[in-house]
């Protein structure tokens, strides 16, 4: 069956089973491999993308449920929050192995769009669904604070 998707502002027509996880459509059909497969059961957050601006686990969304949404992957993320997060991630050398980082960044961007001055607790609440086996949590938290500060200066 054919499904129309809007991914990173581009329209795609995808022929596949409607119950295929969106993650595999993004990676295997659209070659957007920045979104990672971690656990496949919505436990780790590595596959986080935005649907209409809201972070979602793409491993747990059937293709048929994603047709009406504006999907944004790490490749298409843009805006002030993205710029400051990217700079902070580089400044604090956040990634270690890096596998979970696209999911971490997508959640961090969504957090900063919702809350421009997050406290530690706000960060914990927003990021607790994103696991990092290298345990870069402290650097992630510091980088989000730095990004938020940069965001505050630029507005």
């Amino acid at each position: 069956m054919s499904f129309a998707l809007s991914v990173n502002g581009q329209a795609h027509l995808v022929e596949d089973d409607g119950d295929t996880p969106l993650l595999w459509i993004l990676r295997d059909r659209l070659s957007l491999t920045g979104t990672k497969y971690g656990c496949g059961v919505a436990q780790c957050g590595a596959c986080t993308v935005h649907l209409d601006g809201q972070p979602k686990r793409s491993c747990s969304i059937p293709l048929k449920a994603a047709t009406s949404a504006q999907i944004t992957t790490i490749e298409g993320a843009e805006g002030d929050e993205v710029r400051v997060v990217q700079a902070a991630w580089v400044a604090h050398d956040v990634p270690q192995c890096g596998f979970c980082q696209s999911g971490q960044i997508m959640s961090a961007i969504a957090l900063l769009r919702h809350n421009r001055r997050p406290t530690d607790q706000d960060i914990d609440l927003a990021m607790s669904g994103n696991l990092c086996r290298c345990a870069t949590y402290n650097r992630i938290r510091v980088a989000i604070h730095t990004a938020a500060a940069q965001l505050g200066q630029s507005t």
């Binding site: 996880p21 059961v41 436990q43 491993c59 919702h114 809350n115 706000d122 609440l125 669904g129």
Partner: protein, 231 residues
């Protein structure tokens, strides 16, 4: 006259030569057998569906209203109706989202929800980590994540975990805590789709006993017999 052949003496050089040749021959034979085995055409393993590793959940029956006809005393019958309905109310499918803290539990073992989530202002999760981040409008077999359009926690006033069935009963009848009149309560248990999810939980989750209709009939009978609560 035939000269008598004298046996070749086993000098150390001869022993070494024969020994090395034997090892070389053995190596060559083993190598040849290995190469033949490796190159011999055979059917490669084919991909196929994994065997179902999840056992189908067992269905528990719920006693029907007529099963209580033998109890003559209306108050006792009312309590008996609620105690039977309590098998649903205190089932993990219901209790997991009626926690006494801000954090739900999950599975039949009712372990703390992973990842770490909190109820948020509306029961649907923190504003930056909503239930809908993972839970969609339907159960999703591919990831095993359960889903429903109304997926959220019951209000903290309706915490059931750790409560006796009598306390749950009194909660339900208290509009300040249940936020429902008795008519609304009956409609809720009989019609609400999130309540109904408990009988269609997907995966290998154990459904609540009986059916939503049987559960609703018990609650209706309990209300009609005076809504008497167990101690």
């Amino acid at each position: 006259m035939n000269a008598r052949q004298t046996p070749i003496p086993w000098t150390w050089r001869r022993r070494l030569k024969v020994g090395l040749l034997s090892i070389l021959a053995l190596t060559a034979v083993t190598g040849t057998i290995g190469i033949v085995y490796a190159l011999y055409p055979r059917t490669l393993p084919q991909t196929g569906p994994l065997e179902a590793r999840l056992l189908p959940a067992e269905i528990e029956r719920l006693r029907s209203v007529s099963d209580f006809d033998g109890i003559a005393d209306p108050a006792s019958r009312s309590v008996a109706f609620f105690e039977e309905a309590g098998r649903v109310l205190q089932h993990p499918r219901c209790l997991n989202c009626h926690p006494r803290t801000d954090r739900p539990t999950q599975t039949d073992a009712m372990r703390p929800h992973m990842p770490w989530v909190t109820r948020g202002l509306d029961g649907g999760g923190a504003s930056t980590l909503r239930c809908s981040t993972c839970h969609q409008a339907e159960n999703f077999a591919a990831s095993g994540v359960p889903g429903n359009p109304k997926w959220k926690l019951a209000p903290i006033e309706m915490a059931w975990q750790g409560q006796t069935l009598g306390n749950i009963c009194r909660q339900l009848l208290d509009p300040t805590r249940s936020h429902m009149t008795r008519d609304e309560l009956l409609h809720h248990v009989m019609e609400d789709e999130l309540v109904g999810w408990a009988w269609h939980p997907g995966g290998n989750r154990q459904p609540a006993p009986g059916t939503q209709q049987e559960f609703g009939s018990l609650i209706k009978a309990w209300l009609e017999t005076g809504a008497v609560c167990p101690q």
